[in-house]
Amino acid sequence: MIEINHLTKRFEQFTAVDDLSFQVAEGEVLGFLGPNGAGKSTTMKIITGFLAPTAGSVRVDGHDLASDALAAKALMGYLPEGAPSYGDMTTLDFLRFVAEVRGYRGEELVERVGRVLAQVELESVALKKIETLSKGFKRRVGLAQAIMHDPKVLILDEPTDGLDPNQKQHVRELIKNLARDKIVIVSTHILEEVSAVCTRAIIIANGRLVADGTPAELEARSKYHQAVSVTLGADYDVAADLAQLTKVAGVEVDPEDHRSLQILASGGQSIYADVSQTASDKGWPVEELHVARGQLEDFFKQVTAQGAQHG
């Protein structure tokens, strides 16, 4: 269990994290979302004990980061942003070093290192210097050190950034397989990733929590949830026909193609039946008519747009 209470971090005038509170329980894979500069990385740095908060507290499994940092750090595995590692060491030496610091010795150390090498498929580069490796391999070296001690809490700052689609898939599988009885916090700005691996998502903007829920719940809060997408074959004023339908919140016209419309539902109610009835009654020149699924991306834009405007 991770408890984050009223966390605030100020850098001189700039407030990176602003009174942030949330909890994460065992078995949850938490997607940590937000625009660049929203405070994701700063929050992760505080949770992992790298930075001290200006105010507020973090408890990891009952260990307070302020007073019992070493015990908390021992429980956590962390992949910092950019997956830094010591370039002049070989993959094997680096992982042996991490295993030693994590307290493993002798046969157990050899067994641990061997296991993570296999888990993230690093055997082929075990004896190469890390600085000579490709970006994908470096990222995997970072992952390997993070999961070395089979940590209860795994914190990954943009684990798939810069990987090719196959590698991304591989890392997602890895996270899913690891996650069963652990707490995983993954920051990302790839929203499809959240739907793919996370059981819960938090969106922060300007250091504040703006949304918290399962990916499906957040999708449902998108204004396009239950919307009906219509493509017309000829110009036609659809809005006039829909005026009497109370469940319809409005009509959005694609700025590039005015025959392509989104009919928005009010309050997430199903409007497809009504809209298609109206369409056939009034004889709309319909080419295509279907229910659009709410996209996490749309919801993300809705709740973070304000932050983007203010930089």
Binding site: F11, K45, T48, G49, F50, L51, L70, A71, K73, A74, M76, Y78, P80, E81, G82, P84, S85, Y86, G87, D88, M89, D93, F97, V98, E100, V101, R102, G103, Q145
Partner: protein
């Protein structure tokens, strides 16, 4: 082996994983030889001691030691590995000490490899080996003082070249603090206590007496306290600067 030992081992190994350690040792030995034999007149003096050898060490260290100290923390911050290091279950004290001790060990290795000159002087005459041993120890402690300054300067910047320049400048100040030229420059109205205190902070004051065989535990204590103070300052600077 505790975390201090693990960190020390990694740091020392990393010096030898690149040509850095070898280049440092070779250049150290060559310049030492040049200074001792060419400038110091080792043979001309006709005395069985290593005074010309040791008397150049402060000036040699002035450029050589900052070169190994400059990367201690600057590189960790530049590459972001500091975030990795300090989120492992490692105490900051162990990290600061481990890095310092590894660099100090490297200077110790370089210093120990000057042993042929000790053999030479023993072959040519009958030197006081106790004095020589003390001088070696004093020289090593002085190198530690330079390194501790370097550790702090390296923690203060991400740029190792800046760290190098800052370290050389500060070390230069501490070297000349005890020199007669500087002490004579004090006007007469400055109380002797102030002048003495100033001189007491100088490296040469302490090193000269050690290298001449005047074994005073206070000279070693000075370097030990000096190292401790600058390492403590390093830890403070790291805490302050690690966020950016």
């Amino acid at each position: 082996m505790g975390n201090l030992g693990i960190l020390f081992k990694r740091e020392l190994a990393s010096y030898f994983a690149t040509p850095l350690a070898y280049i440092f040792i070779v250049i150290f030995l060559i310049t030492n030889g040049l200074f001792t034999f060419e400038l110091g007149g080792f043979f001309l003096r006709g005395q069985a001691d290593l005074l010309p050898f040791f008397s150049f060490h402060p000036w040699l260290y002035l450029f050589m030691v900052p070169a190994i100290a400059m990367t201690l923390w600057a590189d960790e911050r530049k590459t972001g590995t500091i975030e990795l290091l300090l989120t492992l279950p490692v105490r900051l004290v162990d990290a600061v000490l481990g890095k310092f001790l590894a660099a100090w060990a490297l200077t110790g290795i370089a210093l120990a490899l000057t042993f042929p000159i000790w053999i030479t002087v023993n072959y040519l005459g009958e030197p006081d080996n106790g004095v020589i041993f003390a001088a070696y120890l004093g020289s090593w402690f002085m190198a530690g003082g330079f390194l501790a300054i370097g550790s702090c300067m390296s923690a203060a910047t991400k740029n190792s070249v800046i760290a190098f320049i800052l370290t050389v400048s500060l070390c230069f100040v501490f070297v000349i603090m005890g020199s007669p030229i500087l002490l004579d420059a004090f006007p007469a109205w400055v109380p002797q206590v102030v002048v003495d205190a100033f001189a007491a902070m100088g490296f040469l004051t302490h090193y000269d007496s050690i290298s001449k065989g005047v074994l005073d535990i206070r000279d070693f204590l000075f370097f030990a306290a000096f190292i401790g103070a600058w390492l403590a300052a390093s830890a403070v600077v790291i805490e302050m600067k690690k966020a950016n």
